[in-house]
Symmetry: C2
Subunit: 380 residues, 2 copies
């Protein structure tokens, strides 16, 4: 799922995202809560209608963003890349009821808790709402993580309660597994979610300090979820490096959301089948200056199929031209969509292991298209 | 003609500009000379092929930009909106051979004169090249303007000479009328151009301090051009307010180029049929906050026809989202293209006066499409 953080996939129109074959986008409860506000979006019939996206929308709960403010200004610490620091930033208070914080827009004091998050998501009228959780960073103790995970489970109950009483009937709720990098806490959290009434299950929080640890944490979780019934869709929050998508699918993940394709795109970094360079081609760098080739030969995306050369994109990116940010974003989203399509086809053909190995070794994605035709949710 | 100043219409792809019905874009010799450089663009077969625009390209000569550096940092003084100042900025020397200046990119000393400009435009392989001229600002004396216009005429001869000896055979040359706001100088310059071998004639320089004076200057010029033979296309440089397009056509102008549609678009200002507000709707301002209407009811542009509300665009613009800049740019270019289409149809129907009056009074453009199918120039 591409990110439509503030109600738009950056630089693109809904028709662009549809044409790439995407069936869902992720909108951000935290940002939309602060501006334009749930009352505005509700007046326009929900976030899907407001942004003219005729297909389903998943809204995150705002937990990640709210707690990021306390654990550091960016996701770095959540992802284990920053040293432990004092809680700082704009969080004023964390209590059993939720989090009080200062808006980054106007400095006003605001509050998000399990009930408010669900209420905002009801106003957004997303097709899938995520429960409000505390997203623990990497560098907190087992004890803190255990207490936090317990609270997240209590919040899960409160979210489901509020949604059952007040939520839109056509909105489904996904729960979130927490538990940090501690096996027993992760398994316990996964078991709790598997036993809950949630219609889908997302995996959140710290996934460790490197890919090996992340895969381990995901494996514990999906293994535990296998024991639950009924089987439900599993979403891995905020993950989207090419190798992580491949391994995630092998570990039993169904869907992902990630800023990587569009964020890299805006910075001029294109996704290409080169594992040795983390699947990245930095078009801003000198080697592209006179390169007449498209980003990726044979790629059907609007940038490659129109024949824009690396040299042209290199020049435009250096000149700060919006057109280049758009073109590289389109390429990256096309690349990711086609990779996921390949993995889906491989599952149906019983050939996941071979396909995953080939993609991991640097085979370009073929992309046979989206899985099913999709006729939209309440946003349409 | 939309501006593709640095080799891209800002935020748009060539397919977007084509879909709006445009047949030509204007690329900027000054900027492309500094980066990526004519040698790079030449290696890629010219600016049209480099930017993957399959239709004709006109290149300006760089005169306006080079002299703007001396007469003030922006076009304001050229357009008579700034007090007279000393020559400053990056011009190092103006002589009979051309202008020596410092690059705004790297501080390097560079030179543009009649021959260099034509040489760069030959490397760009534009379909139409403009001769190198001195673009005089509003606040210079009659005496300065007279001497400058004479030099511009000498440069015209040198440009045509260079082009005849070295220019691409499939590139045509437009001359530029100067003469400031002085009737005799304008008429003399127009007569000089009408007697030249140029295949088209552009009107440049100071057009006065208000619209009345601009229309007067244009009227002198086109009247004088009427006497020349053969009849040639007439282009009004850098003009594009809605009322100026309407009056310009009535005064005998065939083509225009202007940053207005895309620049306003990036700032969230949409073109609408409201003469009392200079045809502008500032979507960033409060009245659009909850407005469910599209920018313009019935408008076939990608923004209006997809049903994006003013409220949504208002919110996105305030959030700094690129998608909104793109959508408003598309709307503005659609509006301008359809207005020009209406004026063309009216000429063919012998109803220009009525159509011009209706459009000037605030009738929305209907837009019956581009004049002819166009199969491209050397850029294709």
């Amino acid at each position: 799922m591409p990110l439509a953080t503030k109600g738009a996939v950056k630089g693109l129109e809904p028709r662009d995202v549809e044409a790439l074959g995407y069936e869902m986008v992720l909108a951000n409860t935290f940002h939309l809560f602060l501006a334009p506000g749930p009352e505005v979006i509700s007046e326009f019939g929900g976030v899907g209608r407001f942004m003219r996206w005729g297909r389903p929308v998943i809204s995150d709960s705002g937990g990640f963003q709210v707690f990021s403010m306390g654990h550091g200004t960016v996701a770095d610490e959540i992802k284990g890349r920053r040293a432990q620091g004092e809680r700082s930033g704009a969080i004023l208070n964390i209590a059993e009821d939720g989090v009080r914080f200062r808006s980054y827009l106007d400095g006003r004091e605001r509050f998000l808790g399990p009930e408010t998050s669900m209420e905002v998501q009801a106003a957004l009228h997303s097709d899938i709402a995520l429960v409000f959780d505390e997203c623990t960073p990497f560098n907190v103790s087992r004890d803190y993580t255990a207490r936090s995970t317990e609270r997240t489970h209590r919040w899960l109950g409160r979210c489901l309660q509020w949604h059952g009483d007040h939520g839109p009937r056509d909105q489904v709720v996904y729960g979130i597994v927490q538990g940090g990098v501690f096996e027993d806490l992760r398994r316990e959290s996964a078991a709790t979610l598997a036993a809950s009434a949630c219609e889908g299950i997302a995996i959140g929080g710290s996934l460790g300090q490197d890919k090996a640890q992340m895969y381990e944490v995901v494996a514990w979780t999906t293994e535990e979820l296998e024991r639950g019934a009924p089987a439900r869709p599993r979403h891995l929050l905020g993950i989207g490096d090419i190798d992580d998508l491949i391994t995630g699918v092998e570990l039993g993940i169904d869907t992902f959301d990630c800023a990587i394709p569009t964020r890299l795109g805006r910075h001029g970094v294109a996704l290409v089948p080169s594992p040795e360079r983390r699947w990245r081609l930095d078009l801003v760098k000198a080697p592209s200056r006179l390169d007449p080739r498209p980003i990726l030969e044979g790629c059907p995306c609007p940038a490659c199929s129109s024949g824009f050369s690396r040299a042209y994109l290199h020049y435009l990116l250096r000149a700060g031209e919006l057109t280049a940010m758009r073109l590289v974003s389109l390429h990256n989203l096309s690349y990711t969509a086609r990779l996921m399509s390949d993995l889906r086809s491989a599952i149906h053909a019983g050939a996941l292991e071979q396909t995953a190995a080939a993609l991991r070794a640097g085979a370009p994605p073929v992309g046979s298209g989206p899985p099913t035709s999709c006729t939209g949710g309440p946003g349409s």
